[in-house]
Symmetry: C2
Subunit: 167 residues, 2 copies
DNA sequence: TATTGTTATACTCTATAACTATA
DNA sequence: TATAGTTATAGAGTATAACAATA
Protein backbone atom coordinates (compact mmCIF):
# COMPACT_ATOMS: atom_id res chain seq x y z
CA UNK A 1 0.00 0.00 0.00
CA UNK A 2 0.90 3.62 0.05
CA UNK A 3 2.78 5.32 2.84
CA UNK A 4 0.60 8.42 2.93
CA UNK A 5 -2.85 6.94 3.36
CA UNK A 6 -5.48 8.41 5.61
CA UNK A 7 -7.70 5.42 6.21
CA UNK A 8 -5.58 2.87 8.11
CA UNK A 9 -6.28 4.38 11.57
CA UNK A 10 -9.67 2.71 12.06
CA UNK A 11 -9.06 0.03 14.69
CA UNK A 12 -12.16 0.74 16.75
CA UNK A 13 -14.52 -1.83 18.17
CA UNK A 14 -17.82 -0.50 16.89
CA UNK A 15 -16.88 0.17 13.27
CA UNK A 16 -18.06 -1.33 10.03
CA UNK A 17 -15.34 -3.93 10.44
CA UNK A 18 -17.62 -5.66 12.91
CA UNK A 19 -20.47 -6.00 10.43
CA UNK A 20 -21.10 -9.39 8.89
CA UNK A 21 -22.27 -7.67 5.72
CA UNK A 22 -19.01 -5.78 5.49
CA UNK A 23 -16.93 -8.94 5.81
CA UNK A 24 -19.06 -10.87 3.35
CA UNK A 25 -18.96 -8.10 0.78
CA UNK A 26 -15.26 -7.63 1.14
CA UNK A 27 -14.45 -11.34 0.85
CA UNK A 28 -16.86 -11.74 -2.04
CA UNK A 29 -15.37 -8.78 -3.88
CA UNK A 30 -11.83 -10.02 -3.45
CA UNK A 31 -12.85 -13.50 -4.54
CA UNK A 32 -14.67 -12.32 -7.65
CA UNK A 33 -11.85 -10.01 -8.57
CA UNK A 34 -9.20 -12.70 -8.50
CA UNK A 35 -11.47 -15.45 -9.79
CA UNK A 36 -12.39 -13.69 -13.00
CA UNK A 37 -8.70 -13.39 -13.78
CA UNK A 38 -8.19 -17.08 -13.06
CA UNK A 39 -10.96 -18.24 -15.38
CA UNK A 40 -10.65 -15.51 -17.95
CA UNK A 41 -10.52 -18.13 -20.71
CA UNK A 42 -13.98 -19.45 -19.91
CA UNK A 43 -17.04 -17.78 -21.39
CA UNK A 44 -19.22 -16.39 -18.64
CA UNK A 45 -16.37 -16.01 -16.16
CA UNK A 46 -16.92 -17.40 -12.70
CA UNK A 47 -20.54 -18.27 -13.43
CA UNK A 48 -19.62 -20.04 -16.62
CA UNK A 49 -17.18 -22.04 -14.54
CA UNK A 50 -19.90 -23.14 -12.13
CA UNK A 51 -22.14 -24.20 -15.00
CA UNK A 52 -19.26 -26.18 -16.44
CA UNK A 53 -18.62 -27.88 -13.10
CA UNK A 54 -22.24 -28.95 -12.89
CA UNK A 55 -22.30 -30.05 -16.53
CA UNK A 56 -19.24 -32.22 -16.01
CA UNK A 57 -20.77 -34.21 -13.17
CA UNK A 58 -21.47 -37.82 -14.00
CA UNK A 59 -24.86 -39.26 -13.30
CA UNK A 60 -26.56 -35.92 -13.09
CA UNK A 61 -27.97 -34.95 -16.49
CA UNK A 62 -28.92 -31.49 -15.27
CA UNK A 63 -31.69 -29.65 -16.99
CA UNK A 64 -31.17 -25.93 -17.31
CA UNK A 65 -33.78 -25.23 -14.68
CA UNK A 66 -32.18 -27.62 -12.20
CA UNK A 67 -28.90 -25.87 -12.90
CA UNK A 68 -30.45 -22.51 -12.17
CA UNK A 69 -31.68 -23.76 -8.81
CA UNK A 70 -28.40 -25.24 -7.71
CA UNK A 71 -26.29 -22.32 -8.84
CA UNK A 72 -28.77 -19.74 -7.54
CA UNK A 73 -28.79 -17.85 -10.79
CA UNK A 74 -31.82 -16.97 -12.84
CA UNK A 75 -32.93 -19.42 -15.50
CA UNK A 76 -32.64 -16.65 -18.07
CA UNK A 77 -28.97 -16.27 -17.18
CA UNK A 78 -28.48 -20.00 -17.63
CA UNK A 79 -29.64 -19.64 -21.21
CA UNK A 80 -26.97 -17.05 -21.95
CA UNK A 81 -24.24 -18.94 -20.12
CA UNK A 82 -24.99 -22.24 -21.84
CA UNK A 83 -25.21 -20.39 -25.15
CA UNK A 84 -21.70 -19.09 -24.71
CA UNK A 85 -20.27 -22.34 -23.41
CA UNK A 86 -21.85 -24.28 -26.24
CA UNK A 87 -20.55 -21.83 -28.80
CA UNK A 88 -17.09 -22.40 -27.36
CA UNK A 89 -17.56 -26.16 -27.68
CA UNK A 90 -17.30 -26.80 -23.95
CA UNK A 91 -20.81 -28.14 -23.40
CA UNK A 92 -23.63 -29.46 -25.55
CA UNK A 93 -27.39 -29.39 -25.14
CA UNK A 94 -29.04 -32.79 -25.46
CA UNK A 95 -32.76 -33.44 -25.61
CA UNK A 96 -34.06 -35.11 -22.48
CA UNK A 97 -35.40 -38.49 -23.62
CA UNK A 98 -38.05 -38.36 -20.91
CA UNK A 99 -39.26 -34.79 -21.45
CA UNK A 100 -39.08 -33.16 -24.82
CA UNK A 101 -39.33 -29.70 -23.30
CA UNK A 102 -36.17 -30.10 -21.24
CA UNK A 103 -32.59 -30.06 -22.48
CA UNK A 104 -29.71 -31.67 -20.63
CA UNK A 105 -26.45 -29.79 -20.40
CA UNK A 106 -23.37 -32.00 -20.52
CA UNK A 107 -19.70 -31.13 -20.80
CA UNK A 108 -17.71 -32.18 -23.86
CA UNK A 109 -14.19 -33.57 -23.72
CA UNK A 110 -12.88 -30.09 -24.45
CA UNK A 111 -15.09 -28.83 -21.66
CA UNK A 112 -13.62 -31.27 -19.17
CA UNK A 113 -10.11 -30.33 -20.21
CA UNK A 114 -10.85 -26.64 -19.86
CA UNK A 115 -12.45 -27.34 -16.52
CA UNK A 116 -9.34 -29.10 -15.24
CA UNK A 117 -7.18 -26.13 -16.13
CA UNK A 118 -9.58 -23.61 -14.68
CA UNK A 119 -10.06 -25.61 -11.51
CA UNK A 120 -6.34 -25.70 -10.85
CA UNK A 121 -5.97 -21.97 -11.29
CA UNK A 122 -9.01 -21.33 -9.16
CA UNK A 123 -7.71 -23.52 -6.35
CA UNK A 124 -4.54 -21.45 -6.28
CA UNK A 125 -6.51 -18.24 -6.14
CA UNK A 126 -8.65 -19.55 -3.32
CA UNK A 127 -5.60 -20.62 -1.36
CA UNK A 128 -4.13 -17.17 -1.64
CA UNK A 129 -7.41 -15.58 -0.57
CA UNK A 130 -7.55 -17.78 2.52
CA UNK A 131 -3.82 -17.63 3.17
CA UNK A 132 -4.33 -15.37 6.18
CA UNK A 133 -5.93 -18.30 7.93
CA UNK A 134 -3.84 -21.40 8.30
CA UNK A 135 -4.69 -24.47 6.23
CA UNK A 136 -6.78 -25.73 9.13
CA UNK A 137 -8.87 -22.61 9.66
CA UNK A 138 -9.16 -22.23 5.91
CA UNK A 139 -10.70 -25.66 5.67
CA UNK A 140 -12.90 -24.84 8.62
CA UNK A 141 -14.16 -21.67 6.92
CA UNK A 142 -14.98 -23.62 3.77
CA UNK A 143 -16.89 -26.12 5.84
CA UNK A 144 -18.89 -23.50 7.74
CA UNK A 145 -19.69 -21.56 4.60
CA UNK A 146 -20.89 -24.72 2.92
CA UNK A 147 -23.20 -25.49 5.79
CA UNK A 148 -24.74 -22.04 5.67
CA UNK A 149 -24.99 -22.16 1.88
CA UNK A 150 -26.84 -25.46 1.94
CA UNK A 151 -29.22 -24.27 4.63
CA UNK A 152 -29.87 -20.92 2.99
CA UNK A 153 -33.21 -20.73 1.24
CA UNK A 154 -32.55 -20.48 -2.47
CA UNK A 155 -35.18 -17.79 -2.74
CA UNK A 156 -34.39 -17.27 -6.38
CA UNK A 157 -36.16 -20.55 -7.01
CA UNK A 158 -39.46 -18.90 -6.17
CA UNK A 159 -39.29 -16.62 -9.18
CA UNK A 160 -37.65 -19.28 -11.31
CA UNK A 161 -40.34 -21.86 -10.66
CA UNK A 162 -43.16 -19.39 -10.88
CA UNK A 163 -44.46 -20.08 -7.38
CA UNK A 164 -47.38 -17.77 -6.78
CA UNK A 165 -47.92 -18.37 -3.08
CA UNK A 166 -45.25 -15.93 -2.01
CA UNK A 167 -46.97 -12.60 -2.03
CA UNK B 1 -40.47 -25.82 -0.40
CA UNK B 2 -42.47 -27.66 -2.98
CA UNK B 3 -43.15 -31.39 -2.90
CA UNK B 4 -42.58 -32.00 -6.59
CA UNK B 5 -39.11 -30.63 -7.14
CA UNK B 6 -36.56 -32.29 -9.37
CA UNK B 7 -33.29 -30.84 -8.06
CA UNK B 8 -32.89 -32.09 -4.48
CA UNK B 9 -31.22 -35.39 -5.46
CA UNK B 10 -27.71 -33.95 -5.86
CA UNK B 11 -25.80 -35.26 -2.84
CA UNK B 12 -22.61 -36.17 -4.67
CA UNK B 13 -19.10 -35.52 -3.52
CA UNK B 14 -17.65 -33.86 -6.59
CA UNK B 15 -20.43 -31.42 -7.39
CA UNK B 16 -20.63 -27.67 -7.35
CA UNK B 17 -21.55 -27.91 -3.70
CA UNK B 18 -17.85 -28.45 -2.99
CA UNK B 19 -16.84 -25.19 -4.65
CA UNK B 20 -15.89 -22.28 -2.45
CA UNK B 21 -17.27 -19.92 -5.09
CA UNK B 22 -20.60 -21.70 -5.00
CA UNK B 23 -20.89 -21.41 -1.22
CA UNK B 24 -19.79 -17.78 -1.20
CA UNK B 25 -22.23 -16.84 -3.94
CA UNK B 26 -25.09 -18.68 -2.32
CA UNK B 27 -24.49 -17.19 1.14
CA UNK B 28 -23.98 -13.72 -0.31
CA UNK B 29 -27.17 -13.98 -2.34
CA UNK B 30 -29.23 -15.12 0.62
CA UNK B 31 -27.73 -12.39 2.78
CA UNK B 32 -28.38 -9.64 0.28
CA UNK B 33 -31.89 -10.85 -0.37
CA UNK B 34 -32.91 -10.77 3.26
CA UNK B 35 -30.82 -7.73 4.14
CA UNK B 36 -32.44 -5.45 1.60
CA UNK B 37 -35.79 -6.28 3.11
CA UNK B 38 -34.48 -5.56 6.58
CA UNK B 39 -33.12 -2.13 5.69
CA UNK B 40 -35.70 -1.24 3.08
CA UNK B 41 -36.31 2.09 4.79
CA UNK B 42 -32.73 3.23 4.26
CA UNK B 43 -31.75 4.89 0.99
CA UNK B 44 -29.12 2.83 -0.77
CA UNK B 45 -30.16 -0.44 0.85
CA UNK B 46 -27.40 -2.53 2.39
CA UNK B 47 -24.68 -0.22 1.11
CA UNK B 48 -26.45 2.84 2.46
CA UNK B 49 -26.50 1.03 5.78
CA UNK B 50 -22.75 0.48 5.74
CA UNK B 51 -22.14 4.14 4.95
CA UNK B 52 -24.41 5.09 7.82
CA UNK B 53 -22.55 2.79 10.19
CA UNK B 54 -19.26 4.41 9.27
CA UNK B 55 -20.72 7.90 9.48
CA UNK B 56 -22.05 7.23 12.96
CA UNK B 57 -18.66 6.26 14.36
CA UNK B 58 -17.28 8.70 16.89
CA UNK B 59 -13.77 9.99 16.47
CA UNK B 60 -13.58 9.07 12.83
CA UNK B 61 -14.62 12.00 10.67
CA UNK B 62 -14.46 9.91 7.53
CA UNK B 63 -13.88 11.59 4.24
CA UNK B 64 -15.78 10.11 1.32
CA UNK B 65 -12.64 8.61 -0.11
CA UNK B 66 -11.71 6.96 3.17
CA UNK B 67 -15.23 5.57 3.26
CA UNK B 68 -14.85 4.16 -0.22
CA UNK B 69 -11.69 2.35 0.83
CA UNK B 70 -13.11 0.85 3.98
CA UNK B 71 -16.38 -0.22 2.40
CA UNK B 72 -14.70 -1.44 -0.79
CA UNK B 73 -17.06 0.46 -3.01
CA UNK B 74 -16.11 2.92 -5.69
CA UNK B 75 -15.78 6.56 -4.70
CA UNK B 76 -18.35 7.43 -7.34
CA UNK B 77 -20.84 5.18 -5.60
CA UNK B 78 -20.13 6.92 -2.31
CA UNK B 79 -21.23 10.16 -3.90
CA UNK B 80 -24.62 8.72 -4.81
CA UNK B 81 -25.10 6.98 -1.48
CA UNK B 82 -24.23 10.07 0.56
CA UNK B 83 -26.46 12.13 -1.73
CA UNK B 84 -29.42 9.91 -0.92
CA UNK B 85 -28.67 9.65 2.78
CA UNK B 86 -28.24 13.40 3.05
CA UNK B 87 -31.47 14.03 1.18
CA UNK B 88 -33.19 11.78 3.72
CA UNK B 89 -31.65 13.80 6.55
CA UNK B 90 -29.65 10.87 7.92
CA UNK B 91 -26.17 12.26 7.33
CA UNK B 92 -24.65 15.65 6.58
CA UNK B 93 -21.56 16.67 4.66
CA UNK B 94 -19.23 18.96 6.61
CA UNK B 95 -16.23 20.75 5.20
CA UNK B 96 -12.98 19.34 6.51
CA UNK B 97 -11.34 22.19 8.44
CA UNK B 98 -7.91 20.90 7.46
CA UNK B 99 -8.56 20.32 3.75
CA UNK B 100 -11.07 22.37 1.85
CA UNK B 101 -11.31 19.75 -0.87
CA UNK B 102 -12.48 17.03 1.50
CA UNK B 103 -15.91 16.67 3.06
CA UNK B 104 -16.59 14.74 6.24
CA UNK B 105 -19.66 12.56 6.38
CA UNK B 106 -21.31 12.43 9.80
CA UNK B 107 -24.61 10.95 10.91
CA UNK B 108 -27.38 13.19 12.22
CA UNK B 109 -29.52 12.35 15.23
CA UNK B 110 -32.16 11.01 12.86
CA UNK B 111 -29.44 9.00 11.19
CA UNK B 112 -28.40 7.41 14.47
CA UNK B 113 -31.99 6.58 15.30
CA UNK B 114 -32.56 5.02 11.87
CA UNK B 115 -29.30 3.13 12.29
CA UNK B 116 -30.41 1.65 15.60
CA UNK B 117 -33.61 0.37 14.07
CA UNK B 118 -31.89 -1.00 10.99
CA UNK B 119 -29.14 -2.62 13.01
CA UNK B 120 -31.64 -4.49 15.16
CA UNK B 121 -33.50 -5.82 12.13
CA UNK B 122 -30.26 -6.74 10.42
CA UNK B 123 -29.00 -8.63 13.45
CA UNK B 124 -32.16 -10.72 13.40
CA UNK B 125 -31.72 -11.45 9.71
CA UNK B 126 -28.11 -12.45 10.24
CA UNK B 127 -29.05 -14.75 13.07
CA UNK B 128 -31.59 -16.51 10.91
CA UNK B 129 -29.07 -16.84 8.09
CA UNK B 130 -26.55 -18.46 10.41
CA UNK B 131 -29.14 -20.43 12.35
CA UNK B 132 -28.00 -23.69 10.75
CA UNK B 133 -24.77 -23.33 12.68
CA UNK B 134 -25.06 -23.15 16.41
CA UNK B 135 -24.34 -19.84 18.16
CA UNK B 136 -20.76 -20.97 18.65
CA UNK B 137 -20.03 -21.93 15.07
CA UNK B 138 -21.91 -18.86 13.92
CA UNK B 139 -19.57 -16.67 15.92
CA UNK B 140 -16.64 -18.66 14.62
CA UNK B 141 -17.72 -18.09 11.03
CA UNK B 142 -18.03 -14.35 11.64
CA UNK B 143 -14.56 -14.34 13.09
CA UNK B 144 -12.98 -16.28 10.23
CA UNK B 145 -14.73 -14.16 7.62
CA UNK B 146 -13.52 -11.02 9.32
CA UNK B 147 -9.95 -12.24 9.28
CA UNK B 148 -10.12 -13.01 5.58
CA UNK B 149 -11.85 -9.71 4.86
CA UNK B 150 -9.18 -7.72 6.67
CA UNK B 151 -6.38 -9.58 4.94
CA UNK B 152 -7.97 -9.36 1.50
CA UNK B 153 -6.39 -6.76 -0.73
CA UNK B 154 -8.93 -4.00 -1.22
CA UNK B 155 -8.05 -3.89 -4.89
CA UNK B 156 -10.78 -1.38 -5.55
CA UNK B 157 -8.58 1.16 -3.83
CA UNK B 158 -6.15 0.98 -6.73
CA UNK B 159 -8.62 2.50 -9.13
CA UNK B 160 -10.03 4.79 -6.47
CA UNK B 161 -6.67 6.26 -5.56
CA UNK B 162 -5.41 6.38 -9.08
CA UNK B 163 -2.38 4.22 -8.42
CA UNK B 164 -0.60 3.79 -11.71
CA UNK B 165 1.90 1.10 -10.74
CA UNK B 166 -0.58 -1.70 -11.14
CA UNK B 167 -0.49 -2.23 -14.88
C1' DT C 1 -53.48 -25.44 -17.01
C1' DA C 2 -48.57 -25.85 -15.74
C1' DT C 3 -43.67 -26.16 -16.99
C1' DT C 4 -39.07 -25.75 -19.96
C1' DG C 5 -36.59 -22.83 -22.36
C1' DT C 6 -36.14 -18.47 -24.90
C1' DT C 7 -36.33 -13.47 -25.75
C1' DA C 8 -36.86 -8.71 -24.35
C1' DT C 9 -36.48 -5.27 -20.92
C1' DA C 10 -35.27 -2.74 -16.83
C1' DC C 11 -32.87 -1.97 -12.71
C1' DT C 12 -28.79 -2.35 -9.60
C1' DC C 13 -23.96 -2.62 -8.91
C1' DT C 14 -19.56 -1.88 -10.72
C1' DA C 15 -15.78 0.36 -13.46
C1' DT C 16 -13.71 4.03 -16.08
C1' DA C 17 -12.83 8.43 -17.69
C1' DA C 18 -13.25 13.36 -17.58
C1' DC C 19 -14.07 17.45 -15.13
C1' DT C 20 -13.77 21.13 -10.82
C1' DA C 21 -11.70 22.85 -6.97
C1' DT C 22 -8.39 22.66 -4.07
C1' DA C 23 -3.54 21.19 -2.39
C1' DT D 1 1.44 17.79 -10.46
C1' DA D 2 -1.58 15.24 -7.44
C1' DT D 3 -5.81 14.63 -4.69
C1' DA D 4 -11.20 15.03 -3.15
C1' DG D 5 -15.34 15.09 -5.03
C1' DT D 6 -18.63 15.17 -8.88
C1' DT D 7 -20.71 13.79 -13.26
C1' DA D 8 -21.47 10.81 -17.26
C1' DT D 9 -21.28 6.44 -19.34
C1' DA D 10 -20.71 1.62 -20.19
C1' DG D 11 -20.71 -2.97 -18.63
C1' DA D 12 -21.74 -6.82 -15.80
C1' DG D 13 -25.33 -9.25 -12.83
C1' DT D 14 -30.07 -9.69 -11.53
C1' DA D 15 -35.19 -9.66 -11.97
C1' DT D 16 -39.54 -9.72 -14.36
C1' DA D 17 -42.77 -10.52 -17.92
C1' DA D 18 -44.19 -12.55 -22.14
C1' DC D 19 -43.91 -16.09 -25.53
C1' DA D 20 -43.41 -20.99 -27.98
C1' DA D 21 -43.29 -25.82 -27.38
C1' DT D 22 -44.50 -29.51 -24.61
C1' DA D 23 -46.53 -31.88 -20.53
Amino acid sequence: MDATRTDPPAPEGGGVEQELGWALHRVMTAYRRTAVEAVTDLPGGARGYQVLVAAAEEGTPSSQLALAHRLVIDKTAVTYLVDDLERAGLVVRRPDPADRRARQVVATEAGRAALDVARRELRAVEASLLSALGPEDGEHLRHLLRRVAVSAPAAAACAATGRADVE
